[in-house]
């Protein structure tokens, strides 16, 4: 199997990570995710994720007079993001360590 493991780029996690520093509206989230994480979120995917995260209380909408409503991560969302980041960090650490023992592995 070759190529990127796209299913690991979990869209809810990307959106939470994008909102971790400051509130953003939909377009700003897609731009941020594309520029900093290298993943393009389509409009359909983004708003399916926003609806799901909002339903679970992980993000919340802010007041806006504009059609572009910004979203903010909640305390529960920040906690969920921290837990998932920790888990991914462990997976990445184990992966790097084991890959380094493979003969001929020159990266990292």
């Amino acid at each position: 199997m070759t190529g990127r493991l796209d299913r690991w780029a979990d869209p809810p996690l990307l959106v939470l990570a994008s909102l971790a520093d400051e509130p953003k509206h939909g377009y700003a989230i897609t731009q941020d995710v594309a520029q900093t994480m290298g993943v393009r979120l389509s409009a359909g995917t983004l708003y399916a994720v926003i609806a799901r995260l909002e339903a679970r209380g992980l993000i919340e909408p802010l007041e806006s007079d504009d059609r572009r409503r910004p979203y903010r991560i909640t305390a529960a969302g920040a906690q969920a993001l921290a837990q998932e980041s920790e888990r991914m960090s462990k997976v990445a650490s184990v992966a790097r360590e084991r890959l380094s023992t493979r003969p001929g592995w020159a990266r990292a």
């Binding site: 400051e22 509130p23 377009y27 700003a28 389509s42 409009a43 399916a48 802010l62 409503r69 910004p70």
Partner: protein, 306 residues
């Protein structure tokens, strides 16, 4: 409280030509029209703004359209007026259930009542038994679970002298009675020693489906107009899910019997081609799917924590 200023990228979508932009906006509006009303009311402006800002093409609009399907199947709970969701699911499930019951009665008429037992094919006997038991149990569960809600609405319609709603609520009784009276009269006028001709059978069958649709639509309309709430609505929603699941078992039994009769026991059934049974099974599958999905959605809301 002043909300924090959101971070934002620079929109890029203002550069498209007028014709392209208008066409894309129309497509985007069509894609958003596919979503449930509550979802549209909450997010459609934002999605439109995102599509405008990003200058998105057909692929982005197609992704919006594609995501409408999960929004219907698994609607976000925070968006819904829960009683309205239960009422809508109940009305849809009732209509689909009545169509499925009609298809089941056609199945019984064309198989069991014709004596198509096919000795040596135990599967058919089992399928008939499962179908009979499931149909009866499903009707019982739906009737008992829906009765308190029906009585509640009927009492309110009569108390408030809402004649039209009273009529709607009585349609589940009036429509079958009228149909049976018509059936008896038709059989007396055009029936022979071997029953009625195929064309009359088709006419009677279609009239039966029309009567079933009218009988189911009545309470559905009353639900929409009277907007009941409370424990009776919750009970009806949960009972509908149970009745729908049991009815799906009846549908599976129908499918098993028809497939056995078509593939292995043709000399008993005289089914020499698969077109009619295939269309029949497709209709059964559609009706069973709509019944179970709608009823499950209503029950999911009824059982969810407030």
């Amino acid at each position: 409280m002043t909300p924090p200023t959101p971070a934002g990228g620079t929109p890029t979508g203002g550069t498209s030509t007028g014709g392209t932009s208008t066409g894309r906006k129309l497509l985007a509006r069509a894609a958003l029209a596919l979503y449930p009303p509550a979802w549209r009311a909450r997010y459609s402006d934002e999605v439109s703004a995102l599509l405008d800002d990003s200058g998105a093409g057909l692929a982005a609009v197609a992704s919006v359209a594609w995501r409408a399907l999960p929004a219907w199947i698994c609607p976000p709970r925070h968006l819904h007026d829960r009683p309205a969701r239960m009422r809508a699911s109940l009305a849809t499930a009732l209509l689909a259930w009545s169509m499925l019951a009609g298809l089941g009665l056609v199945f019984a008429q064309l198989t069991q009542l014709q004596g198509l037992m096919a000795p040596g094919y135990a599967g058919i006997r089992w399928a008939y038994a499962v179908f009979d038991g499931s149909l009866a149990l499903s009707a019982l569960v739906a009737g008992l679970g829906g009765l308190p809600l029906w009585l509640l609405m009927l009492r309110r319609a009569r108390r408030e002298q809402r004649a039209r709603d009273t009529l709607y609520l009585l349609l589940p009784v009036l429509a079958p009675v009228a149909y049976l009276a018509g059936l008896v009269a038709t059989a007396g006028l055009v029936g022979g020693p071997n029953g009625v001709s195929p064309s009359w059978f088709l006419a009677v069958t279609l009239a039966g489906f029309a009567a079933a649709a009218i009988a189911a639509a009545g309470p559905g309309l009353a639900l929409r107009r009277l907007q009941p709430r409370g424990p009776a609505l919750h009970l009806a929603a949960v009972a509908a899910a149970a009745a729908g699941a049991i009815m799906a078992l009846a549908a599976a039994a129908m499918a098993v019997a028809v497939v056995i009769l078509c593939l292995w026991a043709r000399r008993f059934s005289y089914y020499h081609n698969f077109t009619t049974p295939g269309i029949y099974l497709a209709l059964v599958a559609v009706a069973a799917s709509v019944t179970t999905v709608s009823a499950a959605r209503g029950a999911r809301v009824a059982l969810a924590k407030p």
